[in-house]
Each structure stands twice: as C-alpha cells, then as structure tokens.
Symmetry: C2
C-alpha cells in the first residue's frame, strides 16, 4: 500500500494515536487503512461412502486435488459462500451442510472453514477453475496429491469421525511455510 484509497495522497506506516500496532495511515485525510485476515469457506461434499474432490486448474497448486472452497465475499454468510464455491468449482449442489472444521493460518492471515454436506445428485462437473471433479472412497484418496494441509486435515478428521458417526466441529491452527499452503490471489478464491 503506497497511496490513500480515499484521497490519493501518500500513506505512511506507523502506529496511529490510541492504537498499539503499525497501520497504513493517511495524514492528509486522517484515514487509517486497516488490513485484516480473510475468510475462506468451502464444503466437504459426501455421496454415500465417497467424497467429492476437485483438481485445481489454477495456481497455486494447479493439478492438485482440493475441496471446493474460496474467499468469502462481502454480504455473504459463511455457509452461502461455501455453497457458492461448491457450485462454481464443481457445479455441485449440496444439502444438510454443517460447520465441520475451522482453521487459523496466521502465516498467511487466513481463516478456513469447511462445511460437511450431502451431495444432492451426480450432476457435478468441472467449473472454470477446475480440471476435473471426482468422487473418492477413503481407500482411493490421493493423499500425496492434495493441494493444501487444510484439505488433508479435514479429510483425515472426516474418515476418523465417520467410524463413530459423530462429527464435532474441529477448531485448529496450521502454521506452515508460505509455499506449502498459500491460497493464491488476495481476496478472490
């Protein structure tokens, strides 16, 4: 950030009065430009004993398998964002969605949420940012070709929890190198 998005003057980077951390600040129009973590939401779509995965057509991690997910937009609930991303990336509809995993990724200032949901029918197909969409049983999950640690952990929890039929919400944090888990462009998934 170099310029004030409000008045166009140069910004400075310092602690504003009454605050305790550095911010981008316009001394011309007195605007503080706060920067905060972004939320990524998605679904774990389940069909009988299989789960739906998408193979990414875009970087980062192009060619790797992921759960349909992307950045939450203004004006959406977390669930609405998860359902939209599932439609956009897998052209899939789900029902009975329940919050399942929540991850903090402080190194990239992201909060990730996945909803466990029932796939409504078999009419899914690859969206614009997806190479292919497929259903996988537990034995066939391509564990070494998963795109992000949040996907791996959500699937691991799911198969563990499925044994008992109890799916408590899991709240976790993942601290990794930028390369391993960065999720692409700022603000749009």
């Amino acid at each position: 950030m170099n310029f004030c998005s409000s008045c166009g003057e140069k910004v400075v980077y310092r602690v504003p009065q009454g605050d305790n951390r550095e911010r981008y600040l316009c001394e011309h129009c007195d605007t503080v430009h706060y920067q905060n973590p972004r939320v990524v939401t998605g679904c774990l779509p389940v069909w009988q004993d299989e789960v739906l995965l998408c193979r990414r057509a875009i970087n980062p991690r192009s060619g790797y398998w992921t759960l349909p997910a992307g950045f939450l937009e203004n004006g959406e609930t977390a669930l609405e964002g998860a359902l939209r991303e599932t439609r956009e990336e897998a052209c899939a509809r789900v029902s009975d969605a329940n919050l399942y995993t929540l991850f903090s990724l402080p190194h990239i200032s992201q909060i990730y949420m996945f909803y466990r949901a029932r796939l409504a029918d078999m009419s899914f197909q690859a969206g614009e940012e997806t190479l292919e969409v497929a259903l996988f049983s537990e034995a066939d999950i391509p564990w070494n070709e998963l795109a992000f640690p949040v996907v791996t952990e959500t699937l691991q929890h799911y198969f563990e929890d499925r044994v008992h039929g109890d799916f408590p919400v899991r709240s976790k944090e993942i601290r990794r190198s930028l390369l391993q888990s960065q999720h692409g462009r700022a603000g749009k998934g």
Copy 2:
C-alpha cells in the same frame, strides 16, 4: 474507495475479466482491490457460576455490556485474537478456551467467533475502551443492556448448555439492521 492504493490513480468499479462481481479496479496498474468480510473474535470468560462482561466506553453501543471481543489482526490465530482482546478490554487472563459460537452477519460483512474459557483469576479491570468489568450470575445478566445480538445469543446458549454440561459449537447467522449490530470502525475493534 476512490484511488488505487498501489499506484495512486483513480479506480473504477466494474466486473474484472474472468470474474462475476463488481470490484474496485485500477486500469492503470491492473490491480483488483478485493474487499472481504472481517473477523471479530472474543471470549466468554467463566468464573464458577458467573460470566465476565465489559461495559463499553466507546461507540457503537457505548454504555452497554458486551463480551470482550474485537477485530482479528493479520498474523494472529482466531484464538490468539480472542485472548488479546480479553486482555485489552478486561485486563483478564483465561485458560481452557474452546470455540463456542460462530456467527455470520452478512449485512455488515462480519464473522464473529466466541471462545468459552475459564477466567484465570480475579485480577481483571477495565481496559481503555471499557467503562467497567464485572461478573454476573445468570439471574443478574442485564439482558436489556447488552450491546450486540451476538452477545445475547452466546449468553443464552451458554446458560442453556450449562444445564447439561455439554457445549457444542453453534454456527448461526444473524440478519439485522445496521443500527442494531454494527461494530464500530472498519477493521479495528
């Protein structure tokens, strides 16, 4: 948003190529300025059969009672943010924090999270943005003087769940008028 924070030129508001919604966009340096929901995190500090509330010293809802909470900062986990806000607003330390409620507030593009936690000791006091801090038993909660619907709902769930000693994570949405639940300055709680 009027100017590009990267190069200082005027921005336009239109759908970028390959996107499906309007964004602030700089046609000079080709930067898309995404705007996304913000995350507010806080604690429900519990001491024996009482809960800790803070009376707000700042607008919005100055003079009303709230749970300690504020905007998550870059580089923090959701839990770290909740603990920091509890220190800043109530000078209180907690332990055994577990995610308890998660709210989507789409009309103000916020995600709210509260952690149920054990108050570590009685050495709490009002922080800079707080008029007073006090412990309340269920019978004494000032229900008509609570600052925000997310606080009311979190407390209601807590007292319901306490009867059975089981505190499942509650994921909800609240759609209200701006006046009733807006949470102050953009990005800093």
